[in-house]
């Protein structure tokens, strides 16, 4: 089983580890819970600790964006790894992602 987590660190959401088909479902749930429970209305999702990600990682970002929107919060994504950026480019997601580097 691959290892991955999403945690709140210093007021930011940190996505880390290997994001794939086995780790995706749990990350989806945990991230959704953290976004719902967050006090802040401006959330930052830091991806610098992602070691490896398939398309599942991009789907997670989209799911978290939908969660934030639903709860009237804003979300920015920081330090998207090259691998995720490449998948985003091929599927033309780059313009849709609120990236801040």
């Amino acid at each position: 089983m691959s290892d991955a987590s999403i945690r709140q660190v210093d007021g930011e959401l940190c996505l880390s580890g290997v994001i794939d088909y086995s780790t995706g479902p749990a990350l989806r749930e945990e991230g959704g819970r953290l976004i719902r429970a967050a006090q802040a209305t401006e959330l930052v999702l830091d991806c610098s600790a992602v070691e490896h990600s398939s398309s599942v990682g991009l789907s997670l970002l989209l799911a978290f964006m939908r969660d934030a929107q639903k709860h009237g919060k804003s979300l920015v994504i920081r330090a998207l790894p090259v691998e995720m950026r490449q998948i985003a480019q091929v599927s033309r997601l780059i313009e849709l992602l609120p990236l801040r580097d």
Binding site: Y21, P25, S55, V56, L58, V90, R92, L93
Partner: protein, 269 residues
């Protein structure tokens, strides 16, 4: 152990027979990681069989087939099932499920192999269809698609699970020039942008040579030649020249072996 990490797939001394007829005899093929490798050869030379060997749908009579550092003939059924997730195949026919719409065709491997929630399956299906330019076609049934569109949907399905190795079985057959151009561009894009190892099995010389980084020419149960497209084009091996230049006659004769024509027509029977 194999294992030069530079190669995603390595065949070592592979032999395969259909009955007593040998399809491959002691063949060595190495597929460089992250590149587009073309496997070319006349129809019936065993190209599709080669893909089935790499995809572990067939077992060689002899030899080793290393995929990502594991020798397939030694793996258990369970391990092979996992290995296959790393490989996508675009079948010659497209092989779409005719009673499922485009969305469900692409979603199918995600439903079978993962436990992703529906919203994530939807994201990934839309991402893959956007990549092949057919996100707008999700509600169409396969029989409402042109041949080129079918193949693109099949490609979206082949990459649904983010395979590390993508195999194309005669991707250009029966495609009009525009659809062919679209496919060539997509194969190259997926390869370069996602670092996929691509294996293109084809007898369409111009298209395959135009996208391949490296080519193998197979025939007569063996590897006749290998090299970059330029190297093979300029080969002085007559068999390779015949294939690369599309000459009807040469070491591979135009005529299937037959008794004397005169005897056949005029001789006593």
């Amino acid at each position: 152990m194999s294992a030069d990490n530079a190669y995603a797939v390595e065949l070592k001394g592979v032999s395969f027979y259909r009955g007593t007829r040998s399809i491959f005899k002691n063949v060595d093929i190495r597929i460089p990681r992250g590149k587009v490798t073309g496997i070319m050869g006349p129809s019936g030379c065993g190209k599709t069989t080669l893909l089935r060997l790499i995809g572990a749908q067939l077992r060689p009579a002899e030899g080793e087939i290393w995929v990502n550092g594991r020798n397939l003939p030694t793996l258990s059924r369970r391990e092979l099932f996992d290995m296959r997730k790393q490989m996508g195949v675009l079948f010659q026919s497209g092989a779409l499920f005719t009673d499922l719409d485009v969305f469900e065709n692409v979603a199918f491997p995600l439903r079978v192999h993962t436990k992703l929630p529906e919203e994530m399956i939807r994201d990934i299906v839309l991402m893959k269809l956007e990549a092949v330019g057919l996100r707008g076609a999700i509600e169409l049934m396969p029989d409402e698609l042109s041949g080129g569109m079918k193949r693109r949907v099949a490609l979206a399905r082949a990459i649904a699970l983010d395979p590390q190795i993508l195999m194309y079985d005669e991707p250009f057959v029966g495609q009009d020039p525009i659809a062919m151009g679209v496919l060539v561009r997509l194969i190259r894009l997926l390869n370069d942008a996602l670092g996929i190892t691509s294996i293109v099995v084809s007898h369409d010389l111009a298209e395959t040579a135009s996208i391949a980084d490296y080519l193998y020419v197979v025939g007569d149960s063996q590897v006749l030649g290998q090299g970059t497209p330029d190297e093979l084009m300029n080969s002085d091996n007559p068999r390779i020249r015949q294939f690369m230049q599309g000459l009807a006659d040469g070491p591979v004769p135009f005529h299937y072996p037959a008794p004397s024509y005169r005897d056949d027509l005029l001789g006593a029977r």
